[in-house]
């Protein structure tokens, strides 16, 4: 068996906190998911080589950066990793262009079609080049920080909570930019987040960390909803997450379709072909045992109950409606409808309950 392209084995203790994980994966885009204080940022600092040497063994995208046994330890400046820190950390004494040139080297070409020029275009920061760092909004700062990280032509991109410092309306915009960047790049990406919405749409694989230990790893939508991780991801605000593409549109609304053929109506007009990521609160999914009559909900989906989990008077009902959806009901409602695994139901979802996150 060949070795996984990315392997991170780190053991560090700092007072009462210790981080001790042994991770490996082959996927290009990995999400490191966990609550704040779980050791995600420490893990990132270890990969960047910014922590005192420990018994680390780190390989990213096929290149070894640390191997204590072989005495290998690259200095931070030799690792060629593009780091986007949580608060952007744009150099305040340089303008936007200065920050980019700092990373790219003095003679860098900002127009042409090099990596940097493509990043400037994809992140739509061409108009910001003449500004000072402190004149930018939070979202602009984050986009410039991403472009700067890419300007150094890194072997991998490391994103530390790239959306955490932004308010909600901005998040969707920056997330769209990030997803576009992600798809355009070919280098590995490590994407740290404590936001379940973000975790579900960002990566091919999710690595869940809590209190400095690995909890689970696997495809994000499976892992975050798995029994071992659910209490944690629910505490962090886990909701249904849906990827889809716009298939038809009118002046008031549009229809989107998921990869597995689930169709939903959104209350906004969007161009056909546009990709959307939606978040749907499990509380906002209504279930009806009989076919509903004339209702205002724009989305009525035939679904089959897969699983019912009861906890303290609440019930989480996992449905197969083409895509997997979870509805949160009271235990009393489950009893009244006589729901059990295999039951056929209708799920009612108001168009307005579908929140676009990217």
């Amino acid at each position: 068996m060949s070795e996984a392209a990315t392997q991170i084995r780190v053991a560090i203790s700092r007072g009462a906190f210790s981080l001790d994980v042994n991770l490996s994966w082959d996927a290009r885009v990995a999400v490191i998911f966990g609550p704040s204080g779980s050791g995600k940022s420490t893990l990132l600092e270890a990969v960047l080589g910014l922590l005192p040497a420990g018994a680390a063994r780190i390989r990213v995208g096929g290149s070894w950066l640390d191997d204590a046994e072989r005495g290998l330890r690259l200095r931070p400046e030799a690792r060629r990793l593009g780091w986007v820190p949580q608060h952007a950390l744009l150099f305040p004494h340089l303008g936007v262009e200065g920050n980019l040139r700092f990373a790219a080297g003095r003679g860098a070409d900002l127009s042409g079609d090099g990596t940097l020029a493509r990043a400037i275009e994809a992140l739509e920061i061409g108009d910001l080049l003449g500004r000072r760092a402190h004149e930018l909004s939070g979202g602009e700062r984050q986009r410039v920080a991403i472009a700067r990280a890419l300007a150094s032509r890194p072997r991998a991109l490391l994103l530390d909570e790239p959306l955490a410092s932004l308010d909600l309306p901005l998040r969707a915009r920056v997330l769209r930019h990030l997803l576009r960047m992600r798809d355009e790049l070919e280098i590995p990406i490590l994407w740290i987040t404590h936001d379940p919405d973000e975790a579900q749409v960002a990566g091919e694989i999710a690595v869940v960390i809590e209190r400095g230990r690995l909890v689970a790893t696997g495809p994000p939508r499976e892992v975050l909803w798995s029994r071992a991780v659910l209490p944690l991801s629910e505490a962090l605000g886990l909701e249904n997450s849906i990827d889809a593409r716009v298939v038809s549109t009118s002046a008031l609304e549009c229809s989107v379709e998921t990869p597995r053929g689930l169709r939903l109506v959104l209350p906004v007009a969007l161009p056909i072909g546009e990709r959307v990521c939606l978040s749907l609160r499990a509380h906002d999914v209504l279930l009806s045992a009989d076919p509903p009559g004339r209702v205002s909900a724009r989305n009525v989906l035939a679904a089959r109950v897969d699983k019912i989990e009861l906890a303290q008077g609440d019930a989480s009902v996992t449905l197969d409606a083409g895509e997997r959806l979870v509805a949160r009901l009271t235990a009393g409602a489950v009893e009244r409808l006589g729901l059990r695994p295999g039951s056929q139901v209708h799920a009612l979802i108001k168009a307005q309950a579908l929140r676009r996150i990217a």
């Binding site: 960047l48 910014l50 200095r75 931070p76 400046e77 030799a78 690792r79 060629r80 990793l81 593009g82 780091w83 820190p85 608060h87 950390l89 150099f91 305040p92 004494h93 700092f102 990373a103 402190h134 700067r148 150094s152």
Partner: protein, 224 residues
């Protein structure tokens, strides 16, 4: 008192201040950086010792320097062997000025570097810069106001230095007579007019330096 005499005293004072400030610039920056970025055992003691020349009576500092630089002190044989005579030269005045100015510079640098988020340096490292390059291209430019402010403070402190200088350099007209020493000597001789003229020059230089420092160099909180 002749204009040539005033020019000579002013020139010597500026030279002493400039040489003293230039000599302590690098050590002051290095000390400030060390104190701002590293924690080590006995750091409080180091900080206290560095601050000493600022709070000791300057005459006491002068006496200590006289012992260190004089032919009869513990380093006397070294000075004899090298054939250098420091005491009662303008070099001694510069050394005295450097000794009292150093704590001001080092403390200003410490504060200036402490106000720079170390994240910037770390980020620069990940972009391929060595620690020294990261310091020169990121930390120093971000702390420059505080560093220049400290250098100006040390320079103006050097201009006014009296107690330590009088002891190690003496008041030798044309050789070690700075503005502060000159004023004192004129007053002793009853030449009030000359003393006032030198006072006016001191006042003008100090005011100019402080205006620069206060108006656009004073560090305004954390640089971000």
């Amino acid at each position: 008192m002749s204009g040539a005499e005033i020019a000579e005293i002013t020139g010597l004072t500026l030279r002493v201040g400039a040489v003293a400030t230039a000599a302590i610039l690098l050590p002051g920056i290095a000390t400030g950086l060390l104190l701002a970025r590293r924690s080590f055992r006995g750091k409080a003691l180091v900080q206290a010792v560095i601050a000493l020349p600022m709070v000791l009576p300057p005459v006491a500092v002068g006496l200590a320097l006289l012992l260190l630089l004089g032919r009869r002190g513990p380093l006397g044989p070294l000075w004899s062997a090298l054939g250098v005579e420091l005491v009662f030269t303008w070099w001694a005045a510069a050394i005295a000025a450097a000794a009292v100015g150093f704590p001001l510079l080092a403390r200003a640098c410490e504060q200036a570097f402490a106000a720079v988020d170390p994240g910037y340096e770390r980020l620069a490292r990940t972009l391929g810069l060595s620690p020294l390059q990261a310091f020169l291209r990121v930390t120093l430019p971000l702390a420059r106001r505080g560093v220049i402010y400290g250098a100006l403070l040390a320079f103006t402190r050097a201009l006014g230095e009296f107690g330590a200088t009088a002891l190690v350099a003496g008041i030798l007209p044309g050789r070690t007579e700075t503005l502060a020493l000159g004023i004192y000597a004129r007053v002793q001789l009853g030449e009030d007019g000359g003393a006032l003229a030198l006072c006016a020059i001191s006042f003008a230089i100090a005011l100019a330096a402080m205006l620069i420092a206060e108006s656009w160099l004073r560090p305004q909180g954390r640089s971000r």
